[in-house]
Symmetry: C2
Subunit: 312 residues, 2 copies
């Protein structure tokens, strides 16, 4: 049986037909997530229908629909509990009802980082791991925890996925979540322009001449010898490492999986993050193993396939 996977990202919605840990067909559509969920649902439905037609696959050959969402998800009621500036109208929307009407299929809904971690463990770079955490450096910083061969979920479905909102500097910047100095507020892609501009020396830096201030431009300017960008990058690495140590101390994993656009610079960053984490983490049993997600584009979809196959 096939699964239909829908990964609702901030910029794109990735749709896929999945079977046995493989993506058999794939298409991206623009999400315009700032405008909400409802306006884009018809396009999603049509895209899935197109993929099925291309593959000459009837709905009856699909076991269900898996939906990944950037926010807090109630996996039992199959609704979104809370969002953070993306698809704000999705809260309490019944994906179950929608999926039944649109496809006549049952649905599994989960937080996107949890789906990504499950995808890496079932079919990706962390195959057969029993205890792992994932940190995804996207626009924000998404996390998930897998303990004793199960996704950690918690009473209100928010355990494991708020690692980006564990504070590494209680006197730091206000975060969109309501707390202060979260790893995400201090070192995420969305926070970078705020952090960079207020630092001494910004105006004279190479970075000030960049049209976009993000991970990519900071790393480029640092590579071109800009001392401001180098110090900024040092601080970012410090926050990421402190945040990862916090997650290790919280969840006791064997393995840390890093993912997201930032990992395009893994050759530069990983050795430094790894050294700093090993220096700080209290792990008398040995050293945490670092893995970079092999195929971050599809790990969420592969996790959704696993969730659909677990549907009762």
């Amino acid at each position: 049986m096939y699964s239909i996977g829908l990964d609702f990202g901030g910029t794109y919605i990735k749709t896929g037909l999945l079977k046995n840990g493989q993506v058999k067909a794939f298409r991206k559509v623009r999400s315009h997530s700032g405008e909400g969920l409802l306006p884009v649902l018809e396009t999603v439905k049509e895209t899935v229908a197109d993929l099925l037609i291309e593959q000459s696959l009837p709905f009856e050959n699909c076991a269900g629909v898996g939906i990944a969402f950037p926010g807090l998800v109630d996996v039992d009621r199959k609704t979104v509990l809370s969002t953070n500036k993306k698809y704000d109208d999705a809260v309490n929307f019944s994906f179950q009802k929608w999926s039944e009407e649109a496809f006549g299929l049952p649905v599994a809904v989960d937080n996107d980082a949890k789906a990504a971690l499950l995808g890496e463990i079932t079919h990706g770079s962390a195959k057969n791991e029993s205890d792992a955490i994932m940190v995804i450096f996207g626009t924000g910083i998404g996390t998930a925890a897998y303990i004793n061969s199960r996704l950690l979920r918690g009473k209100h479905h928010q355990a494991g996925c708020l690692g980006g909102h564990i504070s590494t500097d209680r006197d730091g910047h206000p975060c969109t979540c309501g707390s202060i100095g979260c790893m995400e507020a201090e070192s995420s892609n969305w926070a970078l322009p705020i952090i960079a501009r207020e630092r001494e020396g910004f105006e004279e830096s190479l970075l000030a001449g960049e049209s976009v201030i993000d991970y990519k431009s900071v790393i480029e300017c640092a590579g071109r010898g800009d001392s401001f960008s180098r110090r900024l990058l040092d601080d970012l690495i410090g926050h990421w490492s402190a945040g990862i140590v916090n997650l290790i101390h919280a969840y006791d994993p064997e393995t840390v999986i890093l993912s997201g656009g930032l990992m395009k610079s893994k050759d530069l960053l990983l050795p430094r993050i790894e050294a700093e984490v090993h220096r700080r983490a209290w792990t008398p049993w040995g050293k945490v193993k670092f893995i970079v997600a092999e195929n971050p584009e599809i790990s969420v979809l592969l996790g959704l396939d696993a969730l659909v196959r677990d549907l009762p």
Copy 2:
């Protein structure tokens, strides 16, 4: 059936005979934990024998021995994995062998904060909670997490109990665990003299005249109007609150149980901690409930009773 409970604390070892969630007999002995575990074991054995004689109770009426330890504990191998300046010779000591030889009884060993949380949930102030965290303000800051009606343990037995070593200030003070700016390094009783003495205005403060700098003296001096101590207490409350928010974001509990000597000042502190945590925590489902442990002297022993009754 009875259980024998042994709570190895930094200053005292509490021994108890337990039955149905009640402490039937109790005695404290000095632990001299800085000198190690082995020198004190004979005294512990004799104390247990005395308690049994007093209660006219033969060993055959005891189901087993429960041992709580301040450090990382391998509950399967029944050994200590790592300590932090208390009973340093306990690492890899076989409690199973010792208990069999000393008492002819099976043994359960666990981290002391985990035992305390289990005690509060089975017979204490948090009875029947399914999702709770505990924070114990003793010499250090011990924590434990109970998720989905089970103690969180993790791959290497260190999930949940390192909450005091989640950093709330990555540029802060070095911690005994090897990390920097841990809640414990910034706001524990052992860290207080270091933190207080380096702050501006210490020499002129009322606190400088105190023979001991600890939670108690800071709270007393703040109460007497000393502005230095007031600011210090404000910062402590800030770190505790940030640390508790981090634990809420990590473990998604319904309830936070606070315990330890600091809670003697709960009337002063709890309203402020509670307000600050509610202001910062991202809990769209509602508000975390705060509970102060009713009987912190014996919650560890009650948890040990539960662990012994779970022995195969």
